[in-house]
C-alpha cells in the first residue's frame, strides 16, 4: 500500500529532473526561444545521471507551461480550489445546501491535478459552546465531512481530520453573522 502511494513520486521526480535539464540547457544557449521545444536535444545532452529519463516519454514535461511547474499542495490551497462548508448551531449534520459544495470538492479531489494530494479536514465551531465540548463538536463535524467524501468516492486513506473547536475563528466578531462563518469545515491539501 505504501509503495502504491509512493508510485507517483518517481514520475514527479522525472518531471522535475527533466525540467531542470531543460532549463539548464536553456541558460547555456544564448538564443533559447526557438530551441526549447525540442525534446530530442535534451535527450542528447543528458548526463549519465539522468539516464532513466530516456526511458520515459517526455511529452508531458514539454507541454507543461513553465509558470506552473512548482504547483504543490500549498499553491493549490492558496488558490482556494476546495471550498469551506458551513454548519447549523450545535449541529454536525451536513446541511442540504452544503452538499453541492462537498460534491464539487469531492469531484476535484478525484480528478487531476488534486488527485495526488491528501486532505486534512478541519472541524471548527463558533464561540458559543464550552471550549471542551466544542473540541468534540468540531471532531464530529470533521468526521461527518470525511464520511461524506468517502461516500462520494474519495479514498479514506487520503483523508484525515482535526478539530480546532472554537480556537480558530475566521471572524472575530460576536454576532450571528460572525458565528455563522465560524461554524465551518475547511479542506487543506497536503502532499501525498
Amino acid at each position: 500500500m505504501i509503495r502504491r502511494r509512493h508510485a507517483p513520486i518517481p514520475l514527479l521526480a522525472l518531471v522535475v529532473l527533466s525540467f531542470a535539464v531543460l532549463c539548464a540547457g536553456c541558460k547555456k544557449k544564448p538564443a533559447p526561444v526557438t530551441s526549447t521545444a525540442e525534446p530530442p536535444a535534451v535527450h542528447q545532452t543528458a548526463e549519465p545521471t539522468v539516464e532513466p529519463v530516456k526511458e520515459q516519454p517526455m511529452k508531458p514535461v514539454v507541454e507543461e507551461p513553465a509558470p506552473q511547474r512548482a504547483v504543490g499542495a500549498d499553491a493549490y490551497n492558496k488558490q482556494g480550489l476546495l471550498k469551506s462548508i458551513y454548519f447549523d448551531f450545535d449541529k454536525y449534520e451536513i446541511r442540504p445546501d452544503q452538499r453541492p459544495t462537498l460534491q464539487a470538492n469531492a469531484d476535484k479531489l478525484k480528478a487531476e491535478p488534486l488527485s495526488k494530494f491528501r486532505v486534512l479536514i478541519e472541524g471548527h465551531c463558533d464561540e458559543r459552546g464550552t471550549n471542551e465540548y466544542n473540541m468534540v463538536l468540531g471532531d464530529r463535524r470533521a468526521n461527518a465531512m470525511k464520511q461524506y467524501l468517502i461516500d462520494l468516492g474519495v479514498p479514506a486513506s487520503r483523508l484525515r481530520t482535526i478539530s480546532y473547536g472554537e480556537e480558530r475563528p475566521v471572524d472575530p466578531g460576536h454576532n450571528e453573522e460572525s458565528w455563522a462563518k465560524n461554524r465551518r469545515g475547511e479542506f487543506v491539501l497536503e502532499e501525498g
Binding site: G129, T130, N131, E132, N143, A144, K146, E167
Partner: protein, 443 residues
C-alpha cells in the same frame, strides 16, 4: 515551577498554644465527623467570622529602609489572604489606632477590648543576603502564642512568606490549609497562540509554561501540584501532555492512534488521568495509568463522552455525554459501569467539577443562550444558580478547601479569570495580563 519550593523555610516553630480552639468563637474542628464542614453550604449559612487584628510588622535586627517595603507587603498580603478566606473579619486599623505598643510589648487585652480574637504581628529583619521574618499569632484574651514561625528567604519572596504566614494562621484556627499558597493554571492568549500559564491564586507571579505558539488548553494540576496535564496542538492534532515542574520537561502521553485528546483530570491519588479521546468522531473516556502510560477505555456507547472529572473518593467519575442528543452531565463508577444522568434540565450542560466534600457538582449550563455556573447538591438533588445576567460563565473548578470556585467569564467583554465563594458571593476578577480561560486551581 513554584518559587516557594526554593524558599529556605526553616520555619522555626517558636511555640504553639493550644487554648484558642476552645474559645466560643472557634470554628468546629474539621477532624470531628459530627460537625459540618466549613463554608460548603450553598444556601449561604452565615459563618461566624473570627475578628482579627493584623499589626504593622516591625523592622527587626539589621533591618534597613528596604525591609520596610517587605514589611508593608507582608501585612497587606496577610490581610488579603485572611479576608479572601471568608473565615476572618480583619479589623480596620482605625479601630486600634489609640492602642499604643510600647517597647515591642503588645497589650493584648486592649485588642480583646475592641473585639479582636486574635492578633497577628511580627518583624522583618536582615539575615545574610535575604530577610528573616517572624510571623506570630496570639490569642488576645490570654496573650498565648497560637502560631509562630521564622521564615527566611530572598526579599523578593516577601509575598510568598506572607502567604505562608496566612496559611499557618488558617491551620491554627481550622486545622487545615487555606488557599493562600495555591496556584491557578489557565490558558492565556498570547498573540494568536494559546499558552498554559500559572499564577498565584491572587494573580501575582504569572509564569508562562508552554511556549510553542500553537494552541494549548485544558490544564489540570496533579494533586501534589508538581505536574500539569494539558492538551496541545503542537504536533498537529490535539494530544495529551504532561508537564513536570521539577525539570520543566513535557512528555507526550497520548495513546497511540488517537486523533483528539481532550479534558484531562487527575484521580485524587495522582495515579490516574481520565481524559477523552476520539479516533472516528465518537469521543470516549479513557483512564491512563500515569506510571505505565497505558490507557484503558471505560465508555463504549454511541455518542460523544468527554470532560471526565473524578469524585474526591476516586470511586466515581462525572462526565459530559451527548448520547441523549445534547450535552448533559452523567455519573458513572470509575470503572465505567452504573451510568446515570445527573442533569435533567437545559439543552447544554458541560464542565462538571466535583467539590472536595463530594456532595456538590458545579457545571456550566446554557440558559437563554448564555452560560452560567450551577451547583448540583447530590444529597438533595437541588440545584443552585451562582451566576446570572453577567455574560458567559464557564469552566468552574473548586478550590481544594471547597470554599471557593474559579471560572472564566466574558462579563467584562473578553474572557478573564474570576473567583467566587461557593455560594456565589464575592465574584471578583483575578487580574491577568492577557485574555484568559480554562482555569484549574491547585491544592
Amino acid at each position: 515551577m513554584n518559587r516557594r519550593h526554593h524558599l529556605v523555610a526553616t520555619a522555626l516553630v517558636l511555640g504553639v498554644g493550644t487554648l484558642a480552639l476552645g474559645s466560643p468563637h472557634a470554628l468546629p474542628s474539621p477532624q470531628d465527623p459530627n460537625q459540618p464542614e466549613i463554608g460548603l453550604k450553598i444556601s449561604g449559612t452565615a459563618i461566624r467570622k473570627i475578628p482579627i487584628a493584623i499589626l504593622p510588622f516591625q523592622i527587626g535586627a539589621g533591618g534597613a529602609a528596604d525591609t520596610r517595603g517587605a514589611a508593608d507587603t507582608i501585612r497587606s498580603v496577610i490581610t488579603s489572604d485572611l479576608e479572601y478566606s471568608g473565615l476572618f473579619n480583619v479589623l480596620a486599623p482605625s479601630m486600634y489606632e489609640s492602642v499604643t505598643i510600647a517597647g515591642g510589648k503588645i497589650p493584648f487585652r486592649d485588642f480583646a477590648a475592641i473585639g479582636a480574637q486574635g492578633v497577628v504581628y511580627g518583624s522583618v529583619g536582615r539575615e545574610n543576603a535575604g530577610v528573616a521574618v517572624e510571623g506570630l499569632l496570639s490569642d488576645s484574651r490570654s496573650g498565648d502564642l497560637i502560631a509562630g514561625k521564622r521564615y527566611r528567604g530572598d526579599v523578593r519572596l516577601a509575598r510568598d512568606i506572607a502567604h505562608r504566614i496566612s496559611n499557618d494562621i488558617m491551620i491554627a484556627y481550622t486545622g487545615r490549609p487555606g488557599v493562600s499558597l495555591s496556584r491557578i493554571a489557565m490558558v492565556g492568549k498570547v498573540g494568536n497562540a494559546k499558552e498554559i500559564h500559572v499564577m498565584d491564586y491572587d494573580g501575582a507571579d504569572t509564569k508562562q509554561i508552554t511556549k510553542n505558539k500553537t494552541i494549548n488548553v485544558s490544564p489540570a494540576w496533579s494533586p501534589d501540584g508538581s505536574r500539569l496535564a494539558f492538551v496541545s496542538y503542537k504536533q498537529g492534532n490535539p494530544k495529551l501532555f504532561l508537564y513536570k515542574g521539577e525539570d520543566g520537561s513535557t512528555d507526550d502521553v497520548s495513546p497511540p492512534g488517537s486523533e483528539l485528546c481532550v479534558a484531562p483530570d487527575w484521580s485524587p491519588d495522582g495515579r490516574f488521568i481520565a481524559f477523552s479521546s476520539s479516533s472516528s468522531g465518537d469521543s470516549e473516556i479513557f483512564v491512563m495509568d500515569v506510571s505505565t502510560r497505558r490507557s484503558r477505555q471505560i465508555t463504549f456507547n454511541k455518542g460523544s463522552d468527554t470532560s471526565p472529572v473524578w469524585s474526591p473518593s476516586g470511586r466515581e467519575i462525572a462526565f459530559t455525554s451527548d448520547r441523549s442528543g445534547h450535552p448533559q452531565i452523567y455519573i458513572m463508577d470509575a470503572e465505567g459501569a452504573n451510568v446515570r444522568r445527573l442533569t435533567s434540565s437545559g439543552d447544554y450542560n458541560d464542565s462538571a467539577a466535583w467539590s472536595p466534600d463530594g456532595d456538590h457538582i458545579a457545571y456550566a449550563s446554557r440558559i437563554d443562550g448564555r452560560f452560567d455556573i450551577l451547583v448540583y447538591e447530590i444529597s438533595t438533588g437541588k440545584t443552585a444558580r451562582l451566576t446570572q445576567n453577567v455574560g458567559n460563565n464557564e469552566n468552574p473548578r473548586w478550590s481544594h478547601e471547597g470554599r471557593h470556585l474559579v471560572f472564566a467569564s466574558n462579563r467584562g467583554g473578553v474572557y478573564r479569570i474570576y473567583t467566587m465563594d461557593a455560594d456565589g458571593n464575592r465574584q471578583e476578577q483575578i487580574p491577568t495580563p492577557f485574555e484568559a480561560t480554562m482555569p484549574d486551581w491547585s491544592r
